[in-house]
């Protein structure tokens, strides 16, 4: 018996990957967002070079040069301690992007594990895990995050020199936010697992004697990669928002390390005299978060062939 293959029409995309790439490229907003995020990432990475080139110091106060207007040396002027606003924004971007991306990846790992376990085993484990997920979603998260951010690490048995170091506030916030940021990924991965589990290749693997772990890790996980990537991208924005709120309230990244959130804490005090100090860091958060959301949305359209409206 012979099977006649239709020739692929000229100009039509050939593989799944190239079709995805094409759909993504058609999404101009997502593409622009990606370009913007890459530029932002590179600029924040280059913050020390910018500092050097302009001859300014991001953390050194200069009380003779407070609230300076924008100039060639201070591109966006200086803040209430005479520090260069533009360079501090770049350093703040490092923090926000580092926290946002790393917490999103940790959260994705937790969410993927919960989603696959729930979707694969079904029944009671599924009901339990999903009720748990719903409960976490419906909790008032921010007050709980504030409690977690305020606990004394020394009482958890951490040595004082570690508990009080500057880096710890960074790690702590990554841990706290990822503990709560996994819910979207868990729900999406569970839905995808339910679909994949019913496919023939999984049945075939079961018939060949593959155990549950092999099926979950070797068959379901690789096929659930695209929803995981989409959900992770979409959660980065939310995580950056949470980080900025906690830093703004004085419970996240601690000064003098600049973060967009804690830059706004000080700006709040001077909104009557220097409102622009409150505009720039917020604008930076807004643009970054909306770019991640546009990017995630565009990827969702590109990766999910069913989502054609």
């Amino acid at each position: 018996m012979s099977v006649a293959f239709e020739p692929v029409p000229r100009g039509a995309p050939r593989s799944m990957a190239s079709r995805m790439a094409r759909r993504f490229l058609e999404h101009r907003l997502a593409l622009a967002s990606l370009a913007l995020l890459v530029a932002l990432g590179m600029a924040s990475l280059a913050a020390p070079l910018v500092e050097l080139a302009l001859g300014v110091d991001a953390n050194a106060a200069n009380l003779f040069d407070r609230f300076a207007p924008p100039s060639a040396k201070h591109l966006l002027g200086t803040d209430e301690l005479g520090r260069d606003l533009a360079v501090r924004l770049l350093y703040g971007g490092r923090v926000s992007l580092a926290v946002g991306l790393s917490a999103a990846v940790f959260a994705a790992v937790i969410g993927t594990a919960i989603g696959i376990l729930a979707g694969y085993f079904g029944g009671r484990p599924d009901a339990f895990l999903m009720r748990f997920t719903d409960a976490v979603i419906s909790l008032p998260l921010l007050p709980l995050l504030i409690v977690l951010a305020a606990i004394d690490l020394e009482k958890l048995g951490l040595p004082p020199e570690i508990a009080r170091s500057e880096d710890v506030s960074l790690y702590r916030i990554v841990v706290i936010v990822s503990l709560f940021g996994w819910t979207t990924v868990a729900r999406l991965v569970r839905a995808e697992t339910l679909v994949i589990r019913a496919r023939e290749f999984v049945t075939a693997a079961v018939a060949m004697g593959a155990g549950p772990w092999r099926i979950m890790l070797g068959h379901i996980l690789p096929n659930a990669v695209s929803p995981i990537i989409v959900a992770t991208t979409l959660s980065v924005g939310n995580i950056i928002l949470f980080e900025s709120v906690l830093s703004f309230l004085g419970l996240g990244i601690q000064p003098p390390v600049a973060s967009w959130g804690n830059m706004l804490t000080n700006a709040q005090e001077t909104i009557w005299s220097a409102p622009m100090l409150a505009v720039w860091p917020g604008l930076a958060i807004f643009v970054t978060v909306i770019a991640f959301n546009f990017l995630g949305d565009g990827m969702q359209d590109a990766l999910d062939p069913r989502a054609v409206e």
């Binding site: 008032p140 606990i151 309230l249 958060i285 807004f286």
Partner: protein, 324 residues
Amino acid sequence: MLRFAAIRLTESLVVLLLVSFAVYGLIGLMPGDPIDIMIQSDPKLTPADAERLKALYGLDRPIVERYGNWLGAALHGEFGNSRVNMRPVLEILWPRMGNSLMLLGISLALSLAIAIPLGAIAAMRANGVFDYGVNLACFAGFSTPPFWLALLAIILFSVTLGWLPAGGMGPAGGDPAWHESLRYMVLPVGTLTMLSVGGFTRFMRASMIQTLRQDYIRTARAKGLSEGRMVRSHALRGAMTPLVTVLGLSFGGLFSGALITEIMFAWQGMGRMIYDAILGNDYNLALVGLLFATAMTLVGNLLADIAYVWLDPRVSFRSLEAGR
């Protein structure tokens, strides 16, 4: 119906119990516990005195036992006193809860009043200019840092234009007239509404698009109903039902938004009370505040779940139980 409600109620109580234990344990890890504060205020206390005080207050007992004692008292309505104000916590809590519910209630009603028509119209003109504009506005809404939105509102309406008060709940001293307190509500309510309306609108749009593809909508069109009549009497109801579930899950997020709004505008609500209590080492007040906030969101979630089944004739309570 009763059985379903009973199961969901039990689940909510279990969640509340777990949260109370977790928060009780976490509060014990906060800097400056009661003994630390006593030592600070009286440097003559020796470490032996501190141990005796710990034993006196039962702080040397294992955490599970302390939690058990606390829970027993709490179940009898004994929530203890606030350390800072020296008053029963419930006496402080009730008025704060009322203020928060007022802020949340008005803002939620406003959000839905905007989101439902906006989402429905966007869905009926899917992929048109209007739809595109609404979509962009929604993205902007949930990508804005809440405290920054509040700052911008203060800069624009209080600092620059001078139209509205920057914070507080009324002019200092005395009971303000209702139209005067209304002016103090505009910025907090407006900020909270702008934060939540985007998510609801996008959900309503997606739900409406799904509904418009259903057979019963085609039937309604086929029997000659006008488009407006069809939407009003068939499509809207079908599309709004799933919105109820999202509403139930969104109370926690709304409360988080309200916390920021209350802090930014000096609104005397529960979120601000919890925040101040944590920063001021008033841990009993923080604990009780957090539990009531959690209970509030769980009750909202429960009501939404029950309303969902009540609104959607295709879902029966029996099938929901079976599917679990």
